[in-house]
Symmetry: C2
Subunit: 106 residues, 2 copies
DNA sequence: TTGACATGCAACCAAATGGTTGCATATTAA
DNA sequence: TTAATATGCAACCATTTGGTTGCATGTCAA
């Protein structure tokens, strides 16, 4: 589960919308997810495949339907491992910015 | 400062590496940033422009050099406004996943 | 003032991306 | 069994993306 795949998956607004939709109602089928979207089913399928590859969505075949479940773990890992690093330097970076702005407009 | 620009900016590993570099040493010039990168200066310039557009990096012209400063605010906002939403549904989503796996492999 | 250095701009290119259409397959229900 | 439904696969296309090269501009230092 590469972090790169997660970042790339999150880069597209349609895919974030799909995650939102699953966040609102988990376990939706492909067709259910398509109803909110303004594109063909095949386009949605491709987006879901990318989300699956990033391990952000897990699926289960249930007869002729396919249920989609949100996996919150990768998002959580990004929050902890990646964003956390910047949080640790946040005050320092902000004071750098402040100093810069003060020098810029005296 | 659209959140979409931030997500797209973060999607590229080179740009995340640039943010890492600025996190390690803030205020680097273009040439300094280029030294760590395995591509031409012009390519780095383009990446930095995207980071600037997402407001993740702010610059200051200092004579013939250009200093680059990390702006942690957009990352912080993503953490709070976007990731927070999924955090709130995290336990629910995880139990959904658990149930799904139990049904799948009995 | 002149040469070296730091950056900017623009054209160009290959590959990836996001979308489409058309058809195939598999499952359910009448 | 057959028709409708849910999804899968593949070819195709336009646009975006990430990179290059070549040259221009602006600033510092000898």
């Amino acid at each position: 589960m590469s972090m790169d795949a997660v970042f790339r998956a999150l880069a597209d607004p349609t895919r974030r919308q799909l995650l939102d939709s699953l966040c609102a109602r988990n376990g939706q089928t492909l067709n259910a997810l398509c109803e909110h979207m303004d594109m063909t089913r095949q386009a949605v399928t491709k987006h879901l495949a990318i989300l699956e590859e990033a391990n952000l969505v897990t699926t289960m075949r249930r007869g002729r339907e396919k249920e989609h479940y949100l996996n919150p773990v990768p998002i959580n890992e990004i929050a902890e491992r990646w964003i956390g690093k910047f949080e640790r330097h946040r005050l320092k970076a902000l004071s750098d910015l402040k100093q810069r702005l003060e020098r810029e407009e005296p």
